[in-house]
């Protein structure tokens, strides 16, 4: 395949024999249209949806496993799990007794609105009022794909390093809440919490930030309170 069809860039030879057709269409437009449909459908059923994103291993599933039992007292919860392969995450969630639908993306690095659209139809929407979508572990691609959620929540675990906001600005820009996870590991890693907070807020001054640990439960009361407040405000809209 090498060396094939690679006329040099800016090669204008013969450009005068061509004419231009303006297009100006975004490659994400199709995704956005479906995301909007999802948003309407979920809102029509009174469902508040959070899209949970992070790098692989930052603790998305463990966060949900610790969060859901607390929330089950006041919400009926549903979960859509995105994974490139395997259904282990969905099994961990289903073991809690909440409906979990697994999307196996088959190699694709993020969930898109169409995948979520078909997943939604596997859930009993009338019996859910809070939906978590656990995205594929990845700090780049999921940020570009609106799923129809009400807000994006991202996790950054302290073992990943405090340089992540500047390396993956879009993810921080697009999120409503940043959870600094695994703070029980702070004594063992060189992670500057103040720096991470500062850098993240430069990229997104409105970002809420909560430090927590899914292992010890530290910070969970703040996270749960954030969800309660968010759900209440989403319902008022």
């Amino acid at each position: 395949m090498q060396g094939e069809q690679t006329a040099p860039r800016g090669n204008n030879t013969g450009r005068e024999l061509m004419h231009e057709i303006r297009i100006g269409e975004d490659l994400r437009e199709k995704n956005e249209a479906i995301a909007e449909e999802n948003r309407k459908l979920l809102a029509a059923h009174g469902i508040v949806t959070l899209n949970v994103m992070s790098a692989p291993g930052a603790g998305k599933t463990s966060l949900l496993v610790r969060t859901i039992p607390v929330l089950m007292k006041r919400y009926t919860i549903g979960v859509i799990e995105g994974d490139i392969q395997t259904t282990t995450d969905a099994e961990r969630i289903a073991a809690l007794g909440v409906p979990a639908y697994q999307i196996e993306t088959g190699g694709v690095c993020h969930l898109d609105a169409a995948m979520v659209h078909s997943a939604i139809h596997h859930l009993d929407l009338d019996s859910i009022d809070l939906l978590f979508i656990e995205n594929v572990g990845n700090l780049v691609c999921p940020a570009e794909f609106d799923l129809g959620e009400d807000a994006r929540v991202m996790l950054l675990s302290v073992s990943e390093g405090d340089d992540k906001p500047n390396k993956y600005p879009l993810m921080f820009r697009e999120s409503r809440l940043l959870l600094l996870n695994k703070i029980d590991l702070l004594p063992y890693v060189s992670f500057d919490v103040a720096k991470a907070r500062r850098d993240a807020r430069e990229i997104n001054p409105r970002l809420d930030i909560i430090e927590l640990s899914s292992t010890t439960g530290a910070g969970f009361e703040l996270w749960i309170a954030w969800i309660d407040e968010f759900v209440a405000s989403a319902r008022r809209r």
Binding site: M1, E4, Q5, T6, A7, R9, G10, N11, G14, R15, L17, M18, H19, E20, I21, R22, I23, G24, E25, D26, L27, R28, E29, K30, G107, V108, C109, H110, D112, V140, C141, A143, E144, F145, N166, P169, L170, R173, E202, I203, N204, P205, R206
Partner: protein, 125 residues
């Protein structure tokens, strides 16, 4: 790697446009990719090489124009290019800003040949 699904969208946009206008063969596909777009230019080029073969853009050159990040402060109205990814107004310190450019991932235009031999030369005006 989502460049393949984006490329699929790209080719269907190009296809629709070229056929819709009954244009000649597509020679150039010009893309705008923002500095802050979560897409890799090399992966896009590779996807184009592999996937354009069976499309209306089989003989086209893919041009990728990088668009720098620029923002506007909605509080004081100043427009500027931030150094790095700092979304705070350099003039008034406000964080009420909007991104003007730098998120693009769009097919800007295509160039089609005026020579005969297009997909459907007879349909041209």
């Amino acid at each position: 790697m989502h460049e393949v699904s984006l490329m699929k969208n790209l080719l269907s946009i190009v296809d629709r446009t070229a056929f819709g206008e009954g244009a000649g063969p597509v020679r150039v596909v010009h893309l705008k990719i923002g500095e802050m777009a979560g897409v890799n230019a090399d992966a896009l080029r590779f996807a184009f090489e592999v996937m354009a073969k069976d499309s209306v853009a089989a003989d086209a050159v893919l041009e990728i124009e990088r668009v720098p990040l620029s923002i506007r402060c909605t509080a004081c109205g100043v427009e500027f290019r931030p150094g790095g990814f700092v979304f705070i107004c350099t003039a008034c310190g406000s964080s009420e800003i909007e991104i003007l450019t730098g998120r693009e991932m769009e097919v800007d235009y295509i160039l089609v040949g005026d020579d005969a031999g297009g997909a459907d030369g007879a349909a041209r005006e």
